[in-house]
Symmetry: C2
Subunit: 343 residues, 2 copies
DNA sequence: TTGTACGCGTTATCAT
DNA sequence: ATGATAACGCGTACAA
């Protein structure tokens, strides 16, 4: 007897029943053999395995989900795709993190990118709708209230980066305050006499915290903290804020720029103006997520352990999905200095 | 009567039956009201709407999928995460493309990143398993035989980039031959007397085609095409290949580097060696996917219309999912020159 | 160890 | 327009 493979015509969906019949056992036995394989005789097991191979059987995920209440997938939520998110190593870092965290599992990744102009609440509805077993939410903006919308959800959720409204949600974060301090310290130890900073958006925890850390360290060293301008985590924004900064404070000989992308912009405008980096002005960046490596000279920067954060978040999420209680406090990872030639 | 919201306890899964009961109609009517709303009286519609809102009802996707045979999601397959894929604007471009193509739809995106060390065929099995309604496959390497594995599948699939084994699959591509020619032409018109090229991997269609285009144009202009070295689409590889190239051909005054990342490496080593760009040697890049914008001077390059390709692929896929036949031939988009200061 | 029977939540068919 | 009722494909108590 020959097996006829139907060409492009829709395959006649081989079901568990077919497998059972072909193996000469009942559906239950076939099911057990296919899953754990517990409580099934070697012969039955073999018969089922053969039938599966023969028929090219693949369990229907929907049916399985319907009864097990497990979808086998988790969501990565990337809200508000502003310039920073979609154009940068940031996104790649996120994906590497969850990808790392998912190795060994059979879970798949559903990527939720909030498209602008879509009805608010759509993402939250999707997440609560039972499409996924859990979610990790990255870098949310202030305006979207995903944290509130998810606060009372049954769905396991882990945030990457401290949510603005601390509603008891679990999250993993990097110690951006410490990072800002590291940057300041480097410039101080380097002997800079007058140090300024270009911050990130004051609406984002990361921007705020890095500034706070810088101020702390500067103050501790008895330095002024008045040379501050604000950027938006983009190259152009960094360039603009740097021009502002140096024009307002011509005596600067060291700048902490709160992201590598902005630092890139800073280096460009400084170079254009004939300012030598680091001889005239030392520049510290932040992130080390693929940009700092590519400047000349290589940017001295602070590593923002994004991949590790996301991997940790994923690991935690997996535990929660498996029924483990959410960890008591947040996990906080430490940034560290990455040597370069600009500070 | 007050609605009691259960706190963290797992919500008692409100089903369509509950809605129907609360609305005083049958399940069928409730279902119709919730979906198209066809053949349902205004009163019934209102009653159902109210009940839905009241109960916070959300249809069970698994149950729905089970009967409709639609999952409401498509997969983006990113095989073989080598250096190029995960660390670069390439991935961001892919995601922007599908994201663009998905606007207006209720489809979600499942990201399939082949993790190395996983059983081969896993991805193909997943795709054939009915988890998604369709798939777009990007930038596959030679070694994974996803194209073969998917050739006879019932699942709608669109490739981004020409598959190596042309098995009648549908794909959308960029005209890399034309792109290579554009790069060559620019260098020729600029007055370069001796032109070389750093290619991409000779195992990838893009690498091969860009070289072919360059050779075509050079030959047409009566120039030699012997100054060729091979890179791997990475910064380091580009730097290495460039050194090789200029050492073997000291008379070069123009180089076409087949990717911006490699061009970045090229500019770095050239600068280190005291070679001025573009005065001594003009440099043409390729891609314009986020790297060229950030070099100083800005790289002159050829735009590889990745986002448009993926968006087109997604659009085609959506049609196919909706039952439309696969287009006859491949869609091919055209690259174009992007001005910069290096050539 | 194996099989029987039921339930998961929805949509689709077909009378009414 | 509405309402029974039958699938959809699978896991799993429970009984044997």
């Amino acid at each position: 007897m020959t097996l006829t493979r139907l060409g492009s015509g829709s395959m006649p969906t081989v079901t568990l029943d077919d497998v059972a019949r072909a193996a000469g056992v009942s559906r239950s036995t076939a099911s057990r053999a296919i899953n754990g394989g517990r409580k099934v005789s070697p012969e039955a097991q073999r018969a089922v395995d053969d039938a599966v191979a023969m028929l090219g059987y693949s369990p229907n995920p929907a049916a399985r989900t319907l009864v097990t209440r497990r979808t086998g997938s988790i969501a990565l939520v990337v809200p508000e795709p502003d310039a920073r998110i979609l154009s940068d190593p940031f996104l790649a870092g996120l994906l590497r993190g969850v990808s790392d965290g998912l190795t060994g599992t059979d879970l798949q990744l559903v990527l939720l990118i909030s498209r602008q102009g879509e009805r608010p609440g759509r993402t939250a509805r999707y997440l609560r709708g039972g499409h996924v077993d859990g979610a990790i939410v990255a870098s949310h903006h202030e305006q979207d209230h995903l944290d509130d919308q998810l606060a009372d959800a049954a769905l396991p959720v882990v945030f990457v980066g401290r949510p603005l409204s601390d509603s008891g949600l679990h999250y993993v974060d990097a110690d951006n305050v410490a990072g800002g301090a590291i940057a300041a310290r480097r410039l101080l130890e380097r002997g800079c006499r007058r140090i300024g900073t270009v911050t990130g958006p004051m609406t984002m925890p990361g921007g705020l915290d890095r500034l706070a850390g810088w101020e702390q360290e500067m103050t501790r060293a008895g330095r002024a903290t008045d040379a501050v301008t604000h950027g938006d985590f983009t190259v152009e924004g960094g360039a603009r804020a740097t021009v502002e900064l140096v024009e307002a404070h011509p005596d600067l000989d060291g700048i902490f720029v709160a992201s590598d992308l902005m630092a890139l912009g800073a280096m460009q405008v400084l170079t254009e103006r004939g300012v030598r980096v680091p001889e005239d002005i030392a520049v510290m960046g932040y992130d080390n997520l693929g940009v700092a490596e590519r400047t000349t000279p290589r940017l001295t920067t602070v590593y923002n352990p994004l991949v590790e954060m996301v991997a940790a978040a994923t690991a935690t999420l997996l535990d929660m999905v498996d029924g483990a209680p959410a960890p008591a406090g947040p996990q906080v990872l430490s940034p560290y200095l990455v040597e370069g030639g600009t500070a």
